[in-house]
Assembly symmetry: C2
Homo-oligomer: 509 residues x 2
Amino acid sequence: MSPVPGLRGVGLLGGGVIGGGWAARFVLNGVDVQVFDPDPDAPRKLDEVLANARRACRRLTMAPLPPEGAVRFVGSAGEAADGVDLVQESAPERLDLKQALLSAAAEAAPASVVIASSTSGLLPSALQSGMSHPERLVVGHPFNPVYLLPLVEVVGGAQTTPAARERAADVYRSVGMRPLVLSTEIDGFVADRLLEALWREALWLVEGSVATVEEIDDAIRFGAGLRWSFMGTFLTYRIAGGEAGMRHFMAQFGPALQWPWSRLVDVPELTDELLDRIVTQSEAQAAGRTVRELEAQRDDALIAVLQGLRSVGVGAGEVLDDYERTLFERAGVGQQELLDGWPLRVVDRIVPTEWVDYNGHTNDSRYLELSSNGVDAFMRFVGIDAAYLASGGSYFTVESHLTFVEQCRAGDAVHVDLTLLDHDEKRMHVFTWIRRGLRGGDGGDGGDGGDGVLLGTAEHLLLHVDAGTGKAAAAAPAVLDALERVRAAHASISRPPAAGRHVGQPRSR
Amino acid sequence: MSPVPGLRGVGLLGGGVIGGGWAARFVLNGVDVQVFDPDPDAPRKLDEVLANARRACRRLTMAPLPPEGAVRFVGSAGEAADGVDLVQESAPERLDLKQALLSAAAEAAPASVVIASSTSGLLPSALQSGMSHPERLVVGHPFNPVYLLPLVEVVGGAQTTPAARERAADVYRSVGMRPLVLSTEIDGFVADRLLEALWREALWLVEGSVATVEEIDDAIRFGAGLRWSFMGTFLTYRIAGGEAGMRHFMAQFGPALQWPWSRLVDVPELTDELLDRIVTQSEAQAAGRTVRELEAQRDDALIAVLQGLRSVGVGAGEVLDDYERTLFERAGVGQQELLDGWPLRVVDRIVPTEWVDYNGHTNDSRYLELSSNGVDAFMRFVGIDAAYLASGGSYFTVESHLTFVEQCRAGDAVHVDLTLLDHDEKRMHVFTWIRRGLRGGDGGDGGDGGDGVLLGTAEHLLLHVDAGTGKAAAAAPAVLDALERVRAAHASISRPPAAGRHVGQPRSR
């Protein structure tokens, strides 16, 4: 039985980039597919898309994916449509070819089976003409890669019933997509019309040698493209209008429609009626959120996107990565000042929203991340910099123990204080306190020595390793000297009660 | 001294949304700014932008930001330009107003000081006319919010020297931005021309009642907008062309330029020369990466963006979140099957690229995250589902101990096995093994009972808490029954040597 309720199987007409993407989307959700594609290379191509998709989905989610559905190649459109609950056609953009395939599938499939076309812009009314039971024909227009991008435009033709559109939308939703059900059919639908306009302007820029294709791409991906990943143009412009909102923005930038800011000069007139419509729809879209709230949501989403891209070192994420290295380098100057306060304040930050899971809790691992970042800062402090790492020496954590005392919430200011418990030539034994509260006094009460509310503690044993041999080895003399100085400064700090505990040990303090 | 080398201070003409954004960008990098804005509300508005920016930057990066620069309001453009290394004008889009401000600043600033305008589309040649030392006038066009988005278009006019453009680009780079230095001036520059084309088409769609502003925004943010956050249109289309590349894509979708896919119908002719130029530039942009490599990079970036957006519950991230909940629900059926293999296999996944830091190591905290995810899975297994949590009962981790044995790399298949060491009405004591290797045999050798290479272990003590009282309380009988069954099944597993260790304890096995 299919793990997707009510979906026994899907018939696919065409197994190229888009058809293969559909195959992957369904198969990875445990749904069997029957594929018709006359290209003798189709099985190989589909296998390649499926391999990409399998890799991507295992990275995308930790949620348990069901056992994969089966892929079966068949000899005709009719066979592909036999015994399935949805037919999805993804043939080349030729009306006659698509009509023939859709009609053949319609002959084989009962009237209850929805038949969908992936066309980028042909009208559903044209696709359904001459088909048996044309009322179940919809356009279901996806975006590449189909196995990752959620959008699918659902468009009906003149003869399509609303029920067919809803049925298609339900199927797409069940495999993790976001259907956009349109009420009006139009060439190119909504998304491709927007993309086509931008594309036409981009071609003019290349044609006029104003910019190269790479410069044009950069003009998007380092700027507006980052916003577009979560917020379209209208909401973006509403925010740009500031406290005065959408009408103010239109007054400010409406005149640009008459300026030569595009080679595409056939523009709509901003009548009062059109302005009213935009303002009213923009109000509905904002759903009561003030500009300040929208700004905060925009900023949080931008940060999440930038941090995500940094993790893969791509585009704006690479810019952020370079910037952070610069900040660390600049901060390196005068770090000795830190030694004035004891124990060492090694981390000072605000808990980001993405650390909080859907239950409202910070995942335990974030405490270790905070403490681990603190240990990294401490290592830079004692001279383990990029040059030292390049020379082959490094400390690795071999063991950690954590206690969890209080939860933290997004927006909390937290800091980490560190003390060096012990060290020798190869080992470093440190203890950290994770606390809520803004950086306050210098602490130093001789016990746990800090201000703020204790959230948790961590204890780490690190081993110095020579990367060449992969074995434990003595750290460089300069590092050992720095550790000596820290130990001397920390001599007055008494051993924290949580140090040396094992899990479940009765509390003795 | 300014923490940014060679940048003593910046003069800002205009302190609205854009000018305030510039103020934030500089001040948070430790650079002092002098602001001229005749609006009596300007200080309040700038304070608000600065508050947003401060919050955003503390979330954006853990790198140490320098002490903030100072903001000083002054009474004229000349005063703002006095003693600074850059003047940045962000006044309303009126040529005469901007010219007057820029000229006043140019009188006050030595010829070596670069004067930049944030104009969205006015030509630098027009802005610099009549100014003293016009060769240092550049356009530096940023994007909202200026304190987060890296893009800034740098454009010179007829009299501008290349050195002035480079100097401006260096300053922008030093505060974490990504300058795009254009060789040609054109109304609207590159980015706003692309945005304007899309915007004009969007207005046609609203004008024709084809879609609402929200539907238009959704057509971007659930689809192409996700790609645009790291990859522009040309590289996207190169991939869409498949193995045959850019020329194939142009042959496939070139005809669409003649189709009514946009109201903007003044399109460039695809001459052989234009085609050759696009193909050649596209080759240069791909820089030797094959379509398969580009696809993998695209997918990794998309995953990072989707996971980032999920963490803030926005747009496509919300779609992913809903989808994962569905997957967990669907997988809940028949979970009892898991009991057939001992110890419990609670996590099975591929290490994502974003777990690996710039040194090539997986951050320690990811081991705890893996184990913690395993404990979550185990809790669902014994009946702690959404309904149980909603009723007010939950387990919280109070203590964890980890050992780190081997590093893992991006792409490694890892799994987590779990055993229940001990439990009573309120407490649960579990132990996990984190291993590399694909899911293999059922393990169960009576010791650590698993296949694969051991990467680390974790031991957790959890306490059952009543959310109403905030105190430890007994778990529900059904949960305790499930724990009993697991204990009985785990009775044959001997206590792991790493259990009960404290940090630094000599190894006895």
